[in-house]
């Protein structure tokens, strides 16, 4: 007999029935950083039927202390996180269908992915994308489980369309500055705690037990052992633009296709060409070799210049590490990458 899930089935909250339901469900994990890694591993081990994971970044050495799916080899070869995650997840459980996309998440490319999911796990690292997830969640009535951390502090909330307040009700505007792991550091236990709360809630949703959901905004500090479980019953706003009666989904409507974007707290500028382009990595590599050290795999080419590093993705995106200045980034981009067009 198959004993793989026997201990989980013994747990009264899941049971054989719950296990069967899990195997029929589809989870979208948005972001394959620390939270995305931890949550994806837990849910794949738990035996969820399908798991889709997306991420726009590649593995670096500074990720390894907290992003549990990745190895030194992934950092060494700059594997895209989505691809490295899929490989690891699939080796953990071959019964789960794991889909992975190297993708810079936006309202348009997330639409279909959210619609196909039974629950969305937030593994993103910025509020711009969380407000887009929030609108998509409301529009397509797919629950999403927020998680975020900094230092030894974490927080989580489960957003259920038509039932709980939404992110817009709670925050009303995108926080202009918020602590991230780039600015305040992070210890892995804060990640695991946040993810543990997210995946526990996900297991309840995936086994059709919405009545058992926590219902509060949970925050905690693992270092100082503080916790608050905050009731949110009074804050759903009837005139909320994302979940109210006259909703307009502002983050789906006003989405501008940003071409240049400073990645918050990361000393990095991302350039996304307005039209999709595909690079010939071999040609590009031989050109860039004259200016700095070049490494590549089939998804990404990295060129280290004297004070900056260019990371060029197959889909045309370029990350310029080592500067926060849009003008400087633009200059480097035109000098080294998009010169033929200018």
């Amino acid at each position: 007999m198959d004993t793989r899930y026997s201990r989980q089935e013994l747990f009264s909250g899941i049971g054989k029935e719950g296990q069967k339901r899990l195997q029929e469900k589809h989870v979208l994990v948005l972001g394959a950083g620390a939270l995305g890694s931890a949550s994806a591993e837990t849910l794949v081990r738990a035996g969820v039927g399908t798991l889709t994971i997306i991420d726009r970044d590649f593995v670096e050495w500074s990720n390894l202390h907290r992003q549990q799916l990745y190895t030194e080899a992934d950092a060494e070869h700059n594997h895209p996180k989505a691809i490295a995650a899929k490989e690891r997840l699939q080796s953990i459980n071959k019964d789960t269908t794991v889909k992975a996309y190297v993708l810079d998440a936006k309202a348009d490319n997330l639409k279909k992915l959210v619609q196909d999911a039974d629950v969305v796990i937030d593994g993103s690292d910025n509020f711009d994308i969380r407000f887009i997830i929030n609108d998509l969640s409301q529009k397509y009535r797919v629950p999403w489980i927020f998680g975020a951390f900094a230092g030894s502090f974490g927080m989580s909330y489960t957003f259920l369309p038509e039932k709980t307040p939404c992110l817009q009700c709670i925050l009303s505007t995108i926080p202009s500055s918020s602590m991230s792991c780039e600015t305040s550091g992070i210890i892995a236990p804060a990640v695991q705690m946040t993810s543990a709360h997210q995946t526990t809630e996900a297991l309840k949703i995936l086994t059709n037990q919405e009545e058992s959901l926590r219902g509060t905004l949970l925050l905690f500090d693992v270092w100082n052992t503080q916790q608050q479980s905050i009731r949110t019953d009074k804050i759903k706003k009837t005139d909320c633009p994302s979940c109210g009666k006259e909703r307009t989904y502002p983050y789906l409507v006003h989405e501008q296709d940003t071409k240049l974007e400073v990645l918050c707290g990361r000393n990095t500028v991302q350039i996304r060409p307005s039209e999709k382009k595909e690079y010939d990595f071999n040609t590009l590599a031989s050109e860039l070799k004259q200016h700095g050290n070049v490494r590549k795999n089939s998804y990404i080419l990295i060129c280290t210049l004297s004070d900056c590093r260019l990371a060029i993705f197959q889909d045309g995106r370029v990350l310029i590490h080592g500067t926060k200045e849009i003008d400087k980034a633009k200059h480097l981009y035109h000098r080294f990458i998009a010169k033929e067009k200018e």
């Binding site: 620390a34 975020a148 974490g154 918020s178 602590m179 479980s229």
Partner: protein
Amino acid sequence: MIKILFFARLQEEIGKDSLNIEKAGLTVDQLKQWLEKEHGLQSLDQTMAAVNEDYADGSEVLKEGDTVALIPPVSGG
């Protein structure tokens, strides 16, 4: 007396995780302004607040014995 719990960056800024003060009668917004001024905290505009583990808006008046949690949004993932 009112107990204030600080989370995330506020802990680092103020150097402790809680503070007891005699400020019953202030609103949540007034308490934030007082903290900015007296303890030199950076803007608390976007800091969420909960009173006795109930999400609170800025106009809520604090009563003797309340516990106020101040929660700046964090974004790491």
